[in-house]
């Protein structure tokens, strides 16, 4: 069972969406996308979060950690917040939660129904020049 403070911190983290997923019009929060490697809250209200980018070349991880920091700092009962980046962890789609995968798939299926796409569809349109 999570404490009330842990629950509030988790909810705060879950309000942070990944910027690339927003740009792709399929917003996923950092939990759903599997960016949060770990997080904990001690009895004094000190919070530590460890996150990783989806790609080693990600330049937006700084704004993601900053958003997480600010959202957690606004939770009553929190004393300090430290958000660290795990730059060595290699993210894959397997890190996404089932809810995140379902959201993304739903968005993609919606897109596909608007613009049907099939593997190697281009072959029916002629050979590449």
């Amino acid at each position: 069972m999570m404490t009330a403070l842990e629950n509030a911190v988790a909810q705060a983290i879950a309000t942070v969406d990944d910027p690339c997923s927003i740009a792709a019009r399929a917003p996923l929060n950092v939990f759903e996308l599997g960016l949060v490697r770990s997080w904990d809250v001690d009895e004094d209200g000190d919070v530590h979060v460890l996150v990783s980018p989806t790609n080693p070349m990600c330049v937006l991880i700084g704004s993601i950690t900053q958003s997480i920091q600010r959202r957690i700092e606004s939770v009553p009962g929190v004393r300090t917040v430290v958000v660290d980046i795990d730059g060595d962890f290699l993210w894959t789609h397997d890190e996404m939660t089932p809810e995140g995968r379902a959201k993304l798939e739903q968005r993609r299926q919606g897109s596909m129904s608007q613009v049907p796409v099939a593997p190697r569809q281009w072959e029916g349109a002629g050979n590449p020049k």
Partner: protein
């Protein structure tokens, strides 16, 4: 030749990374990003020193790196127009001209314009560059500039389409658009790939290369190469995931193979910031795992698939006759040097030239 494969490296540049070339802080950031990729995304020991890296690279060194230190047969060098980052755009037009005029059988050229400068400027510059280098085969562009942030879209009928029309009139075969990899902490939106669709549909007789395909928006890119016969995934920097994050490379390539197939993916590395030879050797040995084949619904890569990816697809894009191109370089200066000497160590040519240059300066 690398084994029996024809190798065409479609993205090569002799950067000017000398600090005096940084126009803005974002230019400094991009130089640092390239340095981090150079050091962290290559095998251990394959690197330049900081002094060698943060300098003005020569066309001769680029040629040696590609054709003597590596088994590249033909390379394409691009005029880069990161004008808001670097005073000379990062790889100046003069270097493209020098490369193609000095080594006409080894280099092909993409000219470059910056559409954020406006249509009139772009058309004038394109005409000028084509008059200077009529043998150019492609056009390279970036989707955004900084200070202030500004961007454009490939499906803009008022800006991009007249420019593409002029490119077609000049006989250019392909348009290479930097995507997926934002250049610093800048708005991400211009680096999405959806605007390529509109251009590809409107200009079916031009080819479109999505550069850095798979670093972001992988599925969207995969769908683009699935749907449009004239859109290709260019793997510059993405190839280097072979060293940095091989599982990510495998899943990215698997997605491209499922949706587009081997005829729609092209090897690329951005030499000489990344050295080609280790990538060629790593890709020769690369194979999808049985789990990946099953999970992505694809077959293991065949030797023919790799031949397409390593050079034949790029040759098709450029309308290059491979046999004719190989005949012209069969006994050129690079082949002769390789025939009589062992392969030089990576970057050894540039290291020697840089040392001589430093010695001349201090003398």
């Amino acid at each position: 030749m690398f084994d029996d494969w024809f190798i065409l490296n479609p993205v090569a540049h002799a950067y000017n990374l000398a600090p005096s070339n940084y126009r803005t802080k974002q230019g400094t950031d991009v130089a640092d990003l390239l340095r981090a990729l150079h050091m962290g995304w290559q095998p251990s020991g394959v690197n330049m020193t900081e002094e060698e890296f943060f300098s003005d690279w020569s066309v001769d060194a680029m040629a040696e790196t590609l054709f003597v230190e590596s088994d590249v047969d033909i390379a394409v060098t691009h005029t880069l127009r990161l004008d808001s980052y670097f005073y000379d755009g990062l790889c100046a037009r003069a270097k493209t001209v020098e490369a193609v005029n000095k080594y006409p059988d080894r280099f092909r050229a993409y000219v470059g314009v910056d559409p954020t400068a406006g249509l009139e400027t772009c058309l004038r510059e394109l005409d000028e560059q084509m008059a200077e280098l009529p043998q150019a085969v492609g056009l390279k562009m970036y989707p955004a500039q900084v200070a202030p942030d500004r961007s454009w879209r490939m499906d803009d009928t008022d800006l991009a389409f007249p420019l593409l029309e002029r490119a077609r009139e000049h006989g250019l075969k392909t348009v290479a658009i930097h995507k997926a990899a934002p250049l610093g902490p800048v708005p991400m939106n211009p680096y999405r790939v959806d605007d390529v669709d509109g251009a590809a549909g409107a200009f079916p007789d031009l080819n479109f290369e999505i550069i850095h395909a798979g670093l972001a928006f992988t599925t969207e890119t995969a769908w683009a190469i699935a749907r449009y016969p004239n859109v290709y995934a260019n793997l510059e920097v993405t190839m280097s995931l072979l060293f940095k994050a091989p599982k990510l490379f495998e899943s990215t390539l698997a997605e491209f193979m499922f949706w587009g197939g081997p005829a729609k993916v092209i090897f690329s590395d951005g030499s000489m910031f990344a050295h080609t030879q280790p990538l060629l050797e790593a890709f020769r040995n690369f194979q999808f795992s049985p789990e990946t084949c099953q999970g992505y619904g694809i077959e293991p890569l065949t030797k023919d698939d790799k031949a397409l990816i390593l050079g034949r697809n790029s040759a098709n894009i450029l309308g290059l006759d491979i046999d004719n191109a190989l005949a012209k370089i069969a006994n050129d200066q690079f082949v002769q040097r390789r025939r009589h000497n062992d392969r030089p160590a990576p970057y050894s040519t540039w290291k020697e030239e840089f040392a001589n240059r430093q010695e001349a300066v201090s003398a």
